[in-house]
């Protein structure tokens, strides 16, 4: 088995998407594939790689319809004018899409089928929104039997297709309070803002020139949804967003975002030959299924599977990057895996930084690798819940 290392990681900032008010999204006039086509060549160039040596390209995206349909992953290659010899795959594992890309790349390299794999992630939630528009245009059309036929009742699709309702259901199964979630959200914004201020994210964000509604060009280099001034009282006053007597508010849900992310994986041997200092090595991957109506529980079994591959305990992991699709997802993970909250999302999480669905996987693993480097720590685990009832996890080790 070849060892697999992360040779490079780069992303755009994560803008805040507003499908009903597009002009407020910094990236509203850029397509996700165009953004990705900016990231990839820069990433390749920064690590000094000859693009002809890339053996595979895998792009993750959760809503691969409309303009995010990518011809099997080839259009980002074309838009970036990269060599035709790079094959491509388009992967949809919903919020785990880019991490699925890492997983596939990891498997391709460990088995010796590839030496260099580039993983992309893209999602533009203003231009290709979730929900009604895509649904009503027929761009997505889930089988109606799942909603209507009693024999499928147990899937509880009305809940399972609405992420907010799955979070309500998960919350109901835990001992956490609404205030716990609000506090976690405040923490996320504060940590993210501190990290921004310290310039931590500058090391992973490629600034993009984006045309704005007033005709000006804005150089976008920070994540748009971070609000360091967020206070507990602000969040406590918010109304439930998904059901009348619910507890899940917009404040404890990740925002909608647009971003493109990129990562290059290599066999350790190739990296050494090229004189590249890897960010980290990938040591184990995990994926698991749970009931779709509590999809937020998915990271727990996925992380356990990855840990089991290495015969490790959760307590041996120095830092965790848990995708904050909702505050309750991170809290549930901490409780179920018995984690020290101070090791989780130390630079802020998805509630503040954002969660551009299919692009998030690279951000989680990439940022985690940079945290290990910054903290001079050894082990890290990144995980995410996945709509439809799944979890994905990746364990990395700083070399």
């Amino acid at each position: 088995m070849q060892e697999v290392v992360i040779a490079g990681y780069l992303r755009t900032a994560q803008s805040r998407s507003r499908p009903r008010d597009p002009g407020r999204d910094w990236f509203y006039q850029l397509r996700a594939d165009e953004m990705l086509a900016e990231v990839l060549p820069e990433l390749i160039q920064r690590i000094g790689l000859d693009p002809a040596q890339i053996d595979d390209f895998i792009v993750g995206c959760a809503t691969g319809v409309g303009e995010q349909w990518a011809y099997g992953g080839r259009t980002p290659i074309f838009l970036a004018n990269l060599p035709e010899t790079i094959p491509a795959k388009f992967v949809d594992q919903q919020c785990g899409s880019a991490m699925a890309g890492i997983h596939i790349g990891y498997m391709e390299i460990t088995t010796g089928n590839a030496d260099v794999v580039m993983v992309g992630g893209m999602e533009h939630m203003t231009r290709v929104p979730m929900g009604h528009t895509t649904n009503e245009r027929g761009l997505i059309a889930p089988n109606l039997q799942l909603f209507l036929d009693p024999k499928y009742q147990s899937w509880d699709m009305m809940t399972s297709m609405n992420m907010g309702l799955t979070a309500e259901k998960l919350f109901a199964q835990t001992d956490f309070s609404k205030k716990d979630m609000d506090q976690w959200a405040v923490r996320s914004h504060q940590l993210a803002a501190q990290a921004q201020e310290a310039g931590f994210f500058e090391g992973e964000i490629l600034p993009l020139e984006a045309p704005q509604a007033d005709g000006s060009l804005l150089s976008v280099k920070t994540d748009q949804a971070v609000r360091g001034e967020t206070k507990l009282e602000d969040l406590e006053g918010l109304r439930p967003a998904f059901k009348k007597d619910g507890v899940i508010t917009a404040g404890v849900s990740s925002p909608l975002n647009a971003a493109a992310t990129g990562m290059i994986l290599m066999s350790r041997q190739r990296a050494e030959q090229m004189g590249i200092k890897p960010l980290a090595a990938i040591r184990a991957i995990g994926f698991a299924g749970v009931h779709p109506s509590i999809m937020g529980a998915g990271p727990v079994p996925a992380s356990k599977k990855a840990l089991a591959m290495l015969g490790m305990q959760a307590s041996q992991i120095d830092y965790w990057e848990i995708n904050e699709a909702f505050a309750i997802v991170a809290l549930n993970c901490i409780a179920e895996l018995g984690l020290d909250p101070d090791t989780v999302n130390v630079m802020g999480g998805g509630l503040a930084l954002g969660h551009p669905l299919g692009a998030t996987g690279n951000r989680l693993v990439g940022t985690l690798a940079r945290i290990l480097e910054a903290k001079e720590a050894r082990w890290g685990c990144a995980n995410a819940c996945v709509g439809g009832g799944q979890g994905v996890a990746t364990i990395i080790e700083r070399l």
Binding site: D21, G23, Q29, L30, R31, R127, H132, T133, E136, A213
Partner: protein
Amino acid sequence: MKTEYQTVKVELDKGLAVVRMDNPPVNQMSDYFLEELFQAVREALAAGEVSAIILTGTGKSFIAGADLTQVVKLKDRSEILPKLMAIHEFLREVESAPKPVIAAINGNCLGGGLEVAMSCHYRIAAPGMSLGLPEVKLGLLPGSGGTQRLPRLIGLPEALTLMTTGRFIKTEKAFSLGLVDEVAEPEALVEAGKRAAAKFASRMLNLSARVASQGFSRLPSAAEKADLMEMARATARATAKNYLAPFKIIEAVSRGLSTDFWQDIEREAQLFCDCLLSGIAQNLIGIFLNERATGRLPRIQGMEPKRPKKVAMLGGGVMGSGIVHLLLGAGLETVLWDINDQALAHGLKLLHKTYAYQLKKGKLRQDQLDQLLAAKLTTTSKLEDLGEVDLIIEAVLEDMEVKQDIWKKLENICRPEVVFGTNTSALPISEMAGVLDDPGRMIGLHFFNPAERMPLLEIICGQKTSDQTLATAVAFGRQIKKVPVVVNDGPGFYVSRQLMGLMGGAISLLADGVDLAQMEKALTDFGLPMGPFTLFDLTGIDINYHVEKTFERELGPRYQVHPLSEAVYQLGDYGRKTGAGFLDYSHKEPVPNPRVVEMVERYRQDNGVQPRQAEEREIVDLMLAMAINEAALMMEQGICDRPADMDLAMIYGAGFPPYRGGVLRYADSWGLAMVHDKLKELEAKYGPRFAPAELLGTMAQEGKTFYQS
């Protein structure tokens, strides 16, 4: 809540308001109708008992567009803008209503009609209906939000194509584009509307997600848009350089589709004014309105035309086969006659050729064609077999005796009320009719080649043609979907003589040292499909010469053939058919024919003329002045007296550029006094061919124009 209006009826049914638009004939958006529609919808929006509104039409249309008779009268921005803004305010209220407004598209949904439908929250259409934004064809842009809503609904590439071509699409295509949400049979439209209303009620359909002006997900990125606009501009420059509207549409889109919808709408309204106030739109709308009135002569008003069911076509040549194609297309039983079986077989071969395009494009299948021919077409070489037909069209050899011989025989075979139409392009109708006992039944039906495609039918009355015969001929023209223009008998009738009058001046300029290629370019830049010398070569220099000789003989000294024309004819290079005329066609691109060049040079030397460069203006002015003069002369001589019909005849029969409005509209915009002065100047320089018609002099003096408004 008021339910009965003159042009709108509202039916209330369990919380549902069905608003039926009924402004015959096509639910055009006349002021009084809009007023009632706005009120009816507003009351339904305000009524507490109404939870959803279904908007539909009666008859063959949902809304077929603006009332052009009203639009064309708007002469000022300050008149146009308030009208547009009133519509926008209404559409904004519909879009932002708290209850669904559902368009049940029962018929044609065009222009403003589609713009109304696009502001509704849901669109259901009956199969096979036409939808589109045809404004560009009238020199306009969709001015009720079309340029901003259509791209948001179906994406920019498709929207641009629809708007810049004005092409219609059928319901089925509109459905696949996402312009129509659902297709339902006409009688089930309202029911489907009710089901949709229920879906809104149960939140299966989301009202705010269906507001077209807020739609964003189909708009291109900034970079995509820049590329698309560049391409659209290049296409417009290549295909519509003399027009205005395509460029204004592109501008509305290019500067629009922003986050500020209402600012984009205001810009669209200003651009609409730019279009409407331009001469181009005025000309194109004029043509559109006049087309409906062609052939409606006072002398046949109120007469009941005979409606032929069975028609005989004499002669299966190129024209004959094209006309048979038309007759079959109109569902008429057709008999093709020719002198023998061999000629008939040739005619059928030519007929099949006229269907080649439709077959190739899959618009017609071979078995359908075979079926059509078997059901509707018979052939014969015996005139005696034509006793049953209701109308005869003749396109045999252009020989007076041959034709007269046939007509004489037919007079004994056909019933007395059967109309005899001759497709001669040069022989006098009155003379031809002279052999008949009843010359009143004969009329000229002048088709243009290719008959199955050219939209004009020039109808020529002989001196004795009866009103009944004329009424039948006009109705027949409409039946076979031609624009029927009626003129009186005279050499070249109207179109051929007018075309000679338009192109003939080129010889004077050539003799005066002006470069041939320069004239070709001046006239194609003006918008004509080809320059004068290309046309002479195409028609045949010999044919032209004979026509000129006829004019000289019949119309007097003004028409004396130009010595240079005479010389070119004597050279014997007759044009394309001989491989060379003014131009030599033996190369990849036509080049000046050295034999003609040499001859022209010699002619110029003999007359002490130096070759010279002329301004495009000089060329166009000379040729148009002569054309206008010819039209005035023909009016004086009683060949024709309806300026609108004359202009349409030149647009549809000779390719005169529509945006110029026609020869006489051009004259009006030039100013008849200016035209008169120009002709005086040309007369002094080039002789009596250019002497202004008396009519022009009087009109110029009295400050009159050819068109009354």
